[in-house]
């Protein structure tokens, strides 16, 4: 804990409160909308105080809110989203850890080429290459499968870059000590590097989980059966573009429900953020 002059201890709190209020405002509005009726929502401007229909709207969202996509219950959609989110997050972290480790801690021909090849995946967004990607996925017979939903999304570089950054900061003494002890690279990886990467892994897990959870365009293309749909597609399928009437109260309620698992992940991962967990004397 840093020592700080007692007089200004409230400053951080004030800044945080203002920041939090601003940042969270749109979400607050979503929540309020989920407790109103559609006409209350559309009566411009919408009130900022929660209404009285909370229970009724959430029940409707849970039971038949998504009847519109061939009657899949919300639980099923959330389960699909959960699978995609978990597989993508864990998959990306695992392969990125290994790649970053290889690129930083070894010297081998083609090292920088490998890094740039992986890094290049950030430079061409998914939407641009989505038609050929779909074609390859279809050729591999992966349409309408969990594999097809997740594996093409794992080809990305943010995690590798982050781990590379972190691995570069580890002191040489650590490596030398391990070598002196006779530990091989994998032992060093498991015993020393992994524990030190805990905070970064936790942060990445949150980000990548949400990334997988919020996927829209790719699952839309690669799944045809209603039982494979994700919750975000479910929500979008209620938002009418044009003629049909959007049940905004159910859309908002489902949006809040869809935010609960990512929120839970954030809460769970915070254990890894606790001060002092990270060894202060490296």
């Amino acid at each position: 804990m840093e020592s700080r002059s007692g007089g200004f201890a409230w400053v951080p709190h004030l800044v945080l409160l203002i920041g939090a209020a601003l940042v969270v405002f749109p979400i607050y509005v979503t929540f309020v909308a989920s407790t109103l009726t559609p006409s209350e929502i559309l009566a411009g401007p919408m009130t900022l105080l929660p209404g009285s229909h909370l229970v009724e709207n959430y029940l409707a969202a849970l039971t038949h809110g998504t009847a519109f996509i061939s009657g899949q219950p919300v639980a099923r959609l959330m389960a699909n989203s959960l699978i995609v989110a978990l597989v993508v997050a864990i998959g990306k972290i695992v392969i990125s850890l290994l790649s970053a480790y290889a690129v930083v801690f070894f010297r081998f021909p083609g090292r920088m080429i490998c890094f740039w090849m992986i890094f290049l995946t950030l430079m061409l967004p998914v939407e641009v290459r989505i038609l050929p990607t779909y074609q390859i996925t279809a050729n591999l017979g992966m349409v309408d499968t969990y594999g097809g939903l997740t594996i093409p999304l794992i080809a990305s570089a943010t995690a590798t870059l982050l781990f590379r950054q972190f691995f570069l900061t580890l002191p040489d003494e650590l490596v030398e000590a391990a070598k002196l002890d006779g530990a091989g690279p994998m032992r060093f990886f498991v015993d020393t590097v992994l524990p030190l990467s805990a905070t970064n892994m936790a942060a990445l897990f949150v980000i990548l989980f949400v990334y997988g959870w919020n996927q829209f365009l790719w699952p839309l293309l690669v799944t045809n059966s209603a039982s494979m749909t994700t919750i975000v597609i479910g929500i979008k399928s209620m938002i009418g573009g044009g003629d049909s009437q959007t049940p905004w109260h159910i859309v908002m309620a489902t949006t809040i429900l869809a935010m609960l698992p990512p929120m839970a992940v954030v809460l769970l991962m915070q254990r890894w953020f606790v001060k002092g967990l990270v060894d202060s004397d490296k």
Partner: protein, 439 residues
């Protein structure tokens, strides 16, 4: 005793059983659509109705996103060999679909090959004309068709001293009423949804003026845009003037302005007839529907309005037995009872004459006279070359170009003449690109 004969018999038996089961497993027909919310509900209901009344085929509706996303999904699937049998495509994609010979199977051919009874004359020409060739061969089946009409706030009318049961018939009256509504305190007099569709495309058809040459593109891909005529320029310039004091208030390119009407801000709106369900459920004031206004000094006005919405296309490359199923489904869709119910519940226009007659005979329009306005507006007169519909390549892009130029006009940065001339020039480039890629 050797187990082999027994095994043989068992395997033969199981093979026979599975073969028998395979015979009775229904052929799956995928129907990719962009319908959301209550309309998606209807789609599911229609599919269920077809599936329960026979066992040979099973129609499976799949939501594939917005219209653009659904079209893209269809394209991606076709390139990968996984295309559905039925694809719902918005009306502006008609030219793209038509040019894709090999990727589509025209409806008239589908029905003929499947030997399904099919009489083009049974369909309402104003609706199916958009999706047929110039000699009447139907290419796609209209599904959710709408047309622009006027919705007006009766309470705002009363407050402005206007008779709530006499909506304006001509544009001069319309502008007048809007000014009075604005003067009586409303934040906005009137607005318009789908700005290109209501204020230029339908506007042209309604006044028997061309939007593009070659019968608005129905006659060939070498059409050129023609919406920058003197009447259109005058009309858009008037809108720009009225924007200054919000007698007219631009609200967005597609359906966003509809929120301004529902909230009570704007006293009148010109937008899709499909807006009906929304207004009925959410407007907290007395309201009415009316025909589009016209300029009385224009010869031939009012002609008829053109449709918007989407139709069902059959994709190429499927097996013959799939096509038989699709044909039977289209017959099912064209049934009078189904069309009647579809129209009364969702507001989509009926596609067959029999359905329209049945709705009338049922007294539905007697009880809800305003519901007949879109149909009468569309089919009141025999369509001319200027009002049969549009068939222009990359119409989506052209609409956005028009919207961009109109936005500049309403913001006071260009005159209407400059804007429409520029839009025509830019649009023509887009049309030539389409022509090149489609040949």
């Amino acid at each position: 005793m050797s187990p082999r004969p027994l095994l043989l018999a068992l395997s033969a038996l199981s093979f026979a059983v599975s073969a028998a089961r395979a015979d009775t497993a229904p052929i799956e027909i995928q129907w990719w659509h962009a319908m959301t919310s209550a309309n998606a509900d209807k789609v599911a209901q229609i599919a269920d109705g077809f599936n329960t009344q026979q066992t040979a085929y099973k129609v499976v509706p799949v939501y594939k996103g917005s219209y653009a996303e659904t079209l893209n999904a269809g394209i991606a699937a076709f390139r990968a060999g996984t295309q559905p049998a039925i694809l719902q495509v918005f009306e502006v994609g008609t030219a793209t679909m038509m040019a894709a010979k090999g990727a589509i199977k025209p409806v008239y051919q589908l029905m003929a090959d499947a030997k399904e009874p099919f009489d083009p004359a049974a369909y309402l020409p104003a609706v199916t004309g958009y999706y047929s060739t110039t000699d009447g061969k139907m290419l796609s089946l209209p599904f959710n068709s709408s047309t622009p009409i006027v919705y007006y706030n009766k309470d705002a009318f009363t407050k402005a001293g206007l008779d709530p049961n006499k909506p304006p018939k001509t544009w001069p009256e319309f502008f007048d009423d809007a000014k009075k509504i604005r003067a009586s305190g409303s934040p906005c007099g009137f607005t318009a949804g789908w700005i290109s569709w209501t204020q230029l495309e339908s506007f042209g058809a309604w006044h028997n003026l061309p939007f593009a040459s070659k019968a608005n593109g129905l006659g060939g891909t070498d059409a050129e845009l023609a919406f920058n005529g003197p009447l259109q320029v005058k009309h858009i310039q008037t809108l720009a003037e009225l924007q200054k004091d919000k007698t007219f208030d631009y609200g967005g390119r597609t359906s966003e302005p509809e929120a301004k009407f529902i909230s009570g801000d704007c006293g009148m709106i010109q937008t899709s007839s499909g807006f009906y369900g929304n207004v009925k459920a959410n407007a907290k004031f007395a309201w009415g529907m009316a025909e589009l206004p016209y300029y009385p000094d224009v010869q031939g006005a009012p002609q008829n309005s053109i449709i918007g919405g989407a139709s069902l296309w059959v994709m190429g490359g499927k097996k013959p037995e799939d096509y038989v199923g699709v044909a039977k489904f289209f017959t099912y869709l064209s049934q009078t009872a189904l069309q009647k119910d579809l129209h009364e519940v969702t507001g989509y226009l009926p596609i067959t004459k029999a359905a329209y007659d049945a709705i009338k005979a049922d007294g539905f329009y007697a009880q809800n006279p305003e519901r007949e306005i879109p149909v009468l507006q569309m089919s009141g007169r025999a369509p001319t070359d200027n009002s049969r519909g549009l068939r222009l390549g990359n119409l989506v892009q052209i609409r956005d170009v028009i919207a961009e130029e109109l936005e500049a006009t309403f913001a006071g940065k260009e005159t209407a003449k400059e804007a429409l001339d520029k839009a025509k020039a830019r649009g023509d480039v887009i049309l030539r690109n389409f022509q090149k890629s489609a040949s």
